[in-house]
Assembly symmetry: C2
Homo-oligomer: 222 residues x 2
């Protein structure tokens, strides 16, 4: 008799994407145990209705890291995170067409474009790699100050002349006297897999096909 | 008549340290407006009872960044964050004797020490710089996988053989089958200031003296 296969680990992000991802995951047969929905739970790892799959719920950036290192075989994360890391062992085969937003440059309404023509810009962002690459392509040397949140504070306090941040409704920018000046990346959630796991574990390939078919159905129905 | 001085910006971290820091700040005359305590507020910046000071509430790592770049002149943050960044423009003159915890190495209870003697370790941590320095001093080459949270998952999923993380009660480690094997750093909250601001703005020097006196009083009363 063959040994029980090691359970698959499916990594999903806290926050924004999760509410839209759960119904899609359910249609693909990935349904977490009840404790997952208990807001007081301190658990990080959860069983699912399938005995050979567990979920981990971690920060979006960490979803990519767990999958890239093969500690999770499958995950769901925004294309912003996929682009930021550019891990070679991470493959993003399915655009799930949920979690839409954009990664944009924003700057103060007052004094807009004051730094245009400057040979050196200071930009605050949670996405140093994407930001640096974007400005490099434009021949502008950008010093990126990495922040983990509250980017919107940076221009008003003189930390940076612009920010690069996720924008959804634009309300947070407006509340902080900022205006979106350029979209760098249209973002949506992706199914991601570890490349080695995809080659060696049939269950990973099967999951990819299930999600791919689901998205095709959704598009046909829309 | 001299111009009104620019308001000082005081940066404080969300989370763990804040509850202990607020009473101390109040005794130093730093009292945020009521909205600060409104859990539904989306504001990032707050007035205080002093017309020439405002508060910003950001992530702990970002407190250090705002102060190091002079976007905030003063802040409160754990010594873990001060050590991790080692910013030359950030000065931490007062140990506030609150927010005590420790930065420790932890590893699985089962298989403890299995990696001892290995010439190469993989460690998951939110503190890549402190971790790398610690293992270098021991002559061990450590590959640090940077995670932003949920470090405790890493050993069980094969992402790393050990983690370096903040430990307070040790309960989270225990819940995840881990044991604290070495303390790297005893952590407490520090008053931090921007070095240039300390030299050029008397209000910053006065704040440092006020906090220093408060801590001395607390110690005398203990």
């Amino acid at each position: 008799m063959p040994a029980e296969p090691k359970p698959l680990t499916f990594a999903i992000p806290k926050g924004r994407i999760l509410d839209e991802a759960l119904p899609l995951m359910a249609r693909a047969g990935v349904v977490p145990e009840a404790e997952f929905h208990d807001k007081n739970s301190r658990a990080l790892s959860f069983a699912t209705e399938a005995s050979d799959m567990r979920l981990i719920r971690v920060r979006a950036f960490d979803v990519a890291t767990f999958v890239a290192f093969g500690a999770a075989q499958v995950g769901i994360v925004g294309s912003d995170v996929v682009e930021e890391f550019a891990y070679s062992d991470l493959y993003a085969p399915v655009d799930l067409a949920i979690g839409h937003c954009r990664l944009s440059i924003a700057e103060p309404v007052q004094g807009r474009g004051n730094d245009t023509g400057a040979s050196h810009l200071r930009i605050a962002s949670k996405y140093p790699n994407i930001t640096r690459r974007h400005f490099e392509r434009q021949g502008i040397q950008a010093e990126v100050v990495k922040l983990n949140g509250a980017m919107e504070l940076a221009p008003g306090l003189g930390l940076a002349s612009r920010i690069v941040d996720l924008v959804s409704t634009g309300r947070t920018l407006k509340d902080n006297g900022l205006v979106e000046s350029k979209v760098i990346l249209e973002v949506s959630a992706r199914l991601i897999v570890n490349r080695a796991a995809l080659k060696t574990d049939e269950r990973v390939a099967a999951l990819v096909e299930r999600f791919r078919a689901l998205v095709a159905d959704m598009k046909a129905a829309a």
